[in-house]
Assembly symmetry: C2
Homo-oligomer: 151 residues x 2
């Protein structure tokens, strides 16, 4: 019983710390929502540009693909800080907070996928880019399926 | 007269090329507006975090400042592609397009300032960060004064 109470206290304390950090990073929940949407928009835009090359709609220019992949990879680490406690809303489903471990794991899978995409893009190997693009798209989709409102 | 006509034709042709590039990068003007706002939001968020350190509201953590400055510097190159022909609107004043040379020059000044801020931040020298932060803030303001709707 005592152990359980300590465990609960620890969770409460950690939640309070996280909430303070979020508060320090974003003045209001709306700012956090705007930030995470913005980071996802920038990531999605540059990811879609690689997609156009992968689909053959745009000719392969390795410098352009490398530039876009580097931006995608940088952006992939950012949105998650905008999903702190008390920032429910926007396009996010309540599951972001009720299944936070799964959400966190999904965000890490995405970052691993964008890192691999970036490595492939910097190598200039289109076939490797195509493969890594597909894997990254799957990581986007997995998270959208479970954690994003359907439009 | 003939020379003038050639000059006009060249401008028309270049505008058409630029418009095509913008069209290729953004499916619709709204997407360009959303993109540039998003890039500016992400840049502004991380710039403000450095600002909190500069103002003494948050203790100086050089790894955090370096991380924020790197993001600011990456973001500083992005918004401008979202201001192509036919993307008037949002928070942008018509002067973005009627005084495009000045707007472009301002965007280059900002990028030089964020590069210097990034260099200062990576060095871990708080005094250098403060100076470079001030110069970057001036570059933001110069552009907002002339090219952004007053809220």
């Amino acid at each position: 019983m005592k152990r359980k109470l300590i465990a609960i206290s620890t969770v409460v304390a950690l939640t309070a710390i996280t909430a303070t950090v979020v508060q320090a990073q974003f003045a209001k929940p709306d700012a956090a929502i705007k930030y995470r949407k913005s980071a996802l928009t920038v990531m999605g835009t540059h990811f879609a540009r690689i997609g156009a090359v992968v689909k053959g709609e745009v000719p392969f220019n390795k410098e352009e693909v490398a530039k876009n992949a580097a931006i995608v990879n940088t952006m992939a680490s950012l949105p998650w800080q905008g999903f702190g406690p008390g920032t429910e809303g926007g396009d996010a489903l309540p599951s972001v907070w009720s299944e936070s471990a799964k959400f966190h794991s999904n965000s890490e899978k995405l970052q691993a996928a964008t890192a691999a995409l970036n490595t492939a893009a910097q190598s200039g190997d289109l076939e490797a880019v195509k493969k890594a693009f597909g894997a990254t798209g799957q990581a986007c989709k997995a998270c959208h399926d479970d954690f994003r409102k359907k439009s």
